[in-house]
């Protein structure tokens, strides 16, 4: 990057066939990714999915085993971090404890010998509304304030690409909401390219223009948040991004508009363009809030899928909505979210219910049902920890 100049605008980021291996495991496998200039891009995934490694590769803090990284069309694969037009907001903030807030923010500007570093640093601090604390040390600030300083320290350099490594993770819910909005505003104001890494699906969906869901070193699906939510293509995405009810069965009729799947003897219709596979054994699903509860058997009609009767096994009230667990023979547990339009739950535990949804709301997954878990629970942090412990216990027993 040229000395003493700011990036005019955000730059594209392009990853070509990136692979990163650590001794003993592969963090990222043959990853291709293009992030257009000026967009707010979120990499979403559970712990250990390779998202932070991807970010560190872009920042230059790790070297790729194979592949190419291009920023604004320029190959930066073999350049050092300080030579890249990139700044990072670290998860730990990493504010220099021996410097004041102002010195921290001006650090990057001074290193690049940009004129008026102090004035520009003050400006950046004003942007995050912390200019009055400029002479304090980082330890004297609260977590939320430190986070904003970390953001100012990165944004002040006007990098072509700003990397955010779960910067909101340490904040409480209310502050996080506020910071999400502020971040989004700053991104739109300064027009930089943001690459945001997070495991918080809500955060990714509210902030980003484009979300890429990552799992086991690969990108499972990429698209606008609504698109990902409404039309997940894999079981992992369907369950990581919100909740889903998934059913498996074989296609009985494959029409021009829709396919009909036989799930434990019930016919379920899914629009053809919303299904990834049109023959053989398939997995289909529907979001819990799209389901309607009925206490009497509803009439068969076109464009409506009916399942039931089943029994309500659990009712939990969560303010705006109530979540019902319904057990249907042959289909297992199904989750239903119902808006609280009336006082209290509509039905109570033990009630006999039928469920319906408009066929347009169903979706068909690309996974082979044989490998698709009903809930992809084996990838979250807790499950990983359990697996590790079990493995360790087995080893100990052998010894």
């Amino acid at each position: 990057m040229a000395q003493g100049s700011f990036a005019e605008a955000g730059a594209d980021l392009e990853l070509k066939g990136i692979t990163k291996r650590f001794p003993g495991f592969t963090a990222i496998e043959d990853l291709d990714l293009t992030i257009p200039a000026g967009s707010f891009f979120a990499l979403l995934g559970p712990s250990g999915c390779g998202k932070t490694t991807t970010l560190r590769l872009v920042a230059g803090l790790e070297d790729a085993t194979a592949g190419q990284i291009l920023i604004g069309g320029k190959d930066v694969t073999h350049t050092k971090p300080y030579q890249r037009p990139v700044n990072t907001v670290f998860q730990s903030y990493a504010l220099f404890p021996h410097m004041t807030i102002l010195e921290n923010v001006a650090f990057g500007l001074r290193r690049r010998k940009i004129a008026d570093a102090t004035a520009k640093a003050h400006e950046a601090l004003k942007l995050v509304e912390l200019d009055h604390l400029a002479s304090r040390k980082p330890q004297q600030l609260s977590g939320g304030q430190q986070q904003r300083v970390a953001l100012a320290r990165a944004v002040v350099n006007r990098p072509a690409l700003l990397l955010l490594d779960e910067p909101l993770g340490a904040l409480d819910l209310k502050l996080r909401r506020q910071m999400q909005l502020e971040l989004k505003e700053i991104q739109q104001d300064v027009g930089l390219t943001f690459l945001h890494v997070t495991h918080d699906q809500e955060e990714a969906m509210t902030m980003a223009d484009t979300v890429a869901v990552m799992n086991k070193g690969r990108i499972e699906q990429m698209g606008a948040p609504e698109e990902l939510y409404e039309l997940p293509k894999t079981a992992f995405v369907a369950n990581f991004l919100g909740q889903s009810n998934l059913f498996t069965g074989s296609v009985t009729t494959s029409g021009t508009d829709s396919i009909v799947v036989d799930v434990a003897g019930r016919k379920i219709e899914v629009p053809r363009e919303r299904a990834q596979r049109h023959a053989g054994d398939v997995t289909i699903g529907v979001r819990p809030e799209k389901l309607m509860l009925h206490t009497e058997a509803p009439k068969q009609s076109a464009g409506i899928n009916i399942i039931g009767p089943g029994r309500v096994t659990d009712v939990s009230f969560s303010g705006v909505s109530t979540s019902y667990q319904v057990a249907i023979p042959g289909l297992g547990q199904i989750v239903v979210f119902a808006q609280n339009m009336v006082f209290g739950p509509v039905v109570t535990t033990g009630a006999e219910v039928w469920l319906t949804w408009t066929t347009d709301h169903g979706f068909g997954l690309a996974d082979d049902p044989a490998d698709a878990p009903r809930f992809a629970a084996d990838t979250d942090t807790h499950a990983l920890a359990v697996q590790k412990r079990e493995k360790l216990e087995a080893e100990l027993e052998e010894a």
């Binding site: 050092k80 300080y82 700044n87 670290f90 220099f96 290193r111 690049r112």
Partner: protein, 305 residues
Amino acid sequence: MAFGAFGGTATAVAEPAIRKRSKVALILLLPGILYLGLFFLAPLFSLVLTSFQQPAEFGDIGEYETAFKWENYTAVISTYGEHIIRSFVFAATATVFALLFSFPLAYFIGVTLRRFPLVQALALTLVIAPFFISFLLRTLAWKQLLSDESPFVSFLNTMQLLPEGEHVTGTAFSVIFGLTYNFIPFMTLPIYTSLEKLDLRYVEAGGDLYASPASTFFRVTVPLAAPGIISGMLLTFIPAAGDYINASRDFLGSTSTAMIGNVIEANFLVLQNYPTAAALSLVLMAAILIFVSVYVKKSGTDDLI
């Protein structure tokens, strides 16, 4: 000092509970206070008295009477000014060399070896290992190693690097070498303690903010290791300035390299000139105190001591 500060806060807050606790603290501090009073304050007082004594009128050598002979001070400063300056120059040079050797060593043990705790522990033990052998023996060994018959000096002679008739021992070089060698562990350990805690994410942040590795080192790593560097320098400089072993004729020095410690030793033990020795000791103490407080003030770490 700490005790005074504690007493101050205890009286300022009139809470009975805190009062009670302060009494416990006093009892716990008592052995330390008694020890310091008996073995530091009393001898110091006696030293001050001695420094003003004058020779007894009809006394033997080494007999002195109480007086207020402040001329002792001007006399020692004019007579031994050269030794005082030499002590400070030698000690400062040795401190700088010890820092140059110790920092990379401490960085290697504290940062590079982090991933191998066992090797790290072993390396630390090796730093402390010289302490298992007496300091005098080690210095004597160096005298042998640097003597005229040693392979090192023969090598210098063969390579024509050492002029005819010159020696390695008994020179400023060998004294500073000895001081540096003897104080390296005192420099390494505090720096290691600072670097061991060094959060490498700060170093990464430096690189991310356009600082080259050298710039990151001087602006991030060194300031973060500053407490260790400062205490290491103090731990080296203060004892080195008063050292009388390395510079002694029996070890690595000669009369031309005598430091203030050697002069004090000679006056106390050989010449029995107690007032001069006492005055010199106090001058040395005052000089170090002034030097160190200026240094600490400049380093901006008043909370270090």
